[in-house]
Subunit: 324 residues, 2 copies
């Protein structure tokens, strides 16, 4: 597959690189690193995303060249490269339709569920980040890894592994990152940009959660519910609330955590986390029509916030009692 | 020096390993890894600390064998090994006196200020953690790195580098950690233990800081003052307040951060942090009789909390205006 990729890159002049909407560090970092590498080869490269670059990643070299999609009917680059996008529809609202008939699509991804929607598919599902694959592809292309490329790949890998804390962090990942540091990454400064610049809005929401979270069931369950009124009062949107479960789950001794949130469409969004392998939160989610993994699952369901919370907490306690 | 160390280890049968009081992850991890390695060689090993093992590290294999110092007059091991202790006095209140005349002291440390107080001194000041040196010493001894040793060294290195985010994280550090993972470290589970189990007390203090912190001077200065009354109300001691400056410094756009805290002895403890290389907080600290580094400094001074805060903030603003 790497051979097909290299042959295709060498045989063409113009490229468009795109990743999933609401891009994270891996999406942005993979887009930028590959884009910079192809530009270093003298290629014409357009970088696209249906959403703008989050402010957290705006400092990366080339981030200002990630633009919105070309107009309908505009001439497209010869090759379309999708990175970090496990499902064609996750390109956004416009891109899937716009690019559907493109004759040369390269799909580079690390999601196990990726169906292989490209003409060339480089899907390595055990990879910790798409950036780990891009790292190897840049080497395979024979392009010298510059500091801006290394910064972008470090960002991709660090953010997708929770600063190298997740179980996806293999020895190979750490050795790749060691190589990136040797390409000039200023590790102290880069991490300061990535992890030490939190928007005031986010901190206000974090305080709200810390002030109002509940720990119960002999300290084993932590949870927090955010009513629509609180969201309105704080003036925060969906983005600022997406990691709230990470705040309640860190309480010492807690085994299961839950966040309940009023959504604008009238449904309730529920995030569930387990720190105990004996308690599978995917089973709890499935009971209410949701899904996920044993340690991290979610539900979106119609209902009233407090009644829904009570029902889900009841089910959590039942599972915990069964597990004991 | 490694040769002297190996010769000394091979020539003796009984060892005592000690680290600084109020031990952190590097102190505990270094103590345990070296202790387990010497035990694997069939040596008699005592592990000591003047304070108990913080609950965060109590799960590590062997942590329950770290005990308090032998009684005065008791027979001492043939070799005393001090790890992660830059200054002989940092062994605590009792140990410096008790061990002063020991005939064979090995000093293994990574603090640049270490004066070399041992008979054998292995002081590698650029090392990110004492654990990085212990890693190499265990290899040099020819002892097989078991999973418990690797867990202890991972803990030492990860905690002393802020999960590999500090500028001390070199390519060599990451390659050592990659090797540790290959010795069986369960990286997801270990990090969960280290970073996802925060005492409720700490979270309550964090909430207090988030609720009451002030951001001023066009969003460039963040600060928080904790009066004695608040500490009493929250029922927290010195330990729970030591990292508070990390909470206020992460506000996006902030360049200088400060924490002011009433101490029990009537003095004020001030922690200063800079995120901007143009502003040297050591200069600000020095103005009030404190000290430290350009990006992290501190002061302990007599005074009233609010008046002291006002004076220090005035000085910070002066330095910031001069830097512009």
């Amino acid at each position: 597959m790497y051979k097909d990729f290299i042959t295709t890159v060498n045989a063409h002049e113009s490229f468009g690189i795109i990743s999933h909407f609401r891009p994270d560090g891996d999406a942005i970092g993979s887009t930028l690193a590959l884009g910079l590498a192809l530009r270093a080869m003298g290629k014409q490269v357009s970088l696209w995303n249906e959403d703008s670059v989050p402010s957290r990643y705006a400092f990366l070299t080339g981030a200002d060249t990630i633009g919105s999609l070309p107009e309908a009917g505009a001439e497209l680059p010869q090759v379309l490269i999708c990175v970090d996008t496990g499902d064609w529809k996750r390109l956004g609202d416009i891109a899937p339709e716009r690019f559907r008939d493109h004759p040369c699509i390269i799909n580079i991804d690390h999601h196990g569920t990726n169906p292989g929607y490209g003409h060339i598919n480089i899907v390595e599902s055990p990879s910790a980040a798409c950036g780990c694959i891009i790292f190897k592809l840049i080497k395979a292309l024979g392009v010298e890894m510059t500091t801006p490329m290394a910064d972008a790949l470090y960002t991709a890998i660090s953010t997708d592994t929770g600063s190298f804390q997740y179980s996806s962090t293999t020895p190979e990942v750490l050795r790749q990152v060691a190589d990136l540091l040797e390409c000039g990454v200023d590790v102290g400064r880069l991490n300061c940009r990535l992890y030490q610049e939190i928007p005031w809005d986010t901190l206000r929401v974090n305080a709200e959660v810390l002030n109002n979270m509940v720990v119960e069931h002999q300290g084993q369950i932590s949870h927090y519910a955010m009513p629509a009124g609180t969201k309105a009062r704080l003036g925060v949107g969906l983005e600022a609330t997406k990691d709230l479960v990470d705040i309640v789950r860190v309480v010492e001794g807690v085994r299961v955590s839950a966040i309940f949130e009023d959504l604008e469409d009238g449904r309730i969004r529920i995030s569930l986390r387990s720190k105990d392998p004996a308690i599978n939160v995917a089973n709890i989610a499935a009971h209410f029509g949701g899904g996920g993994h044993a340690m991290a699952a979610g539900i979106r369901m119609k209902g009233e916030l407090n009644a829904t919370k009570a029902a889900v907490l009841e089910k959590i306690k039942e599972e915990m009692n069964n597990a004991q």
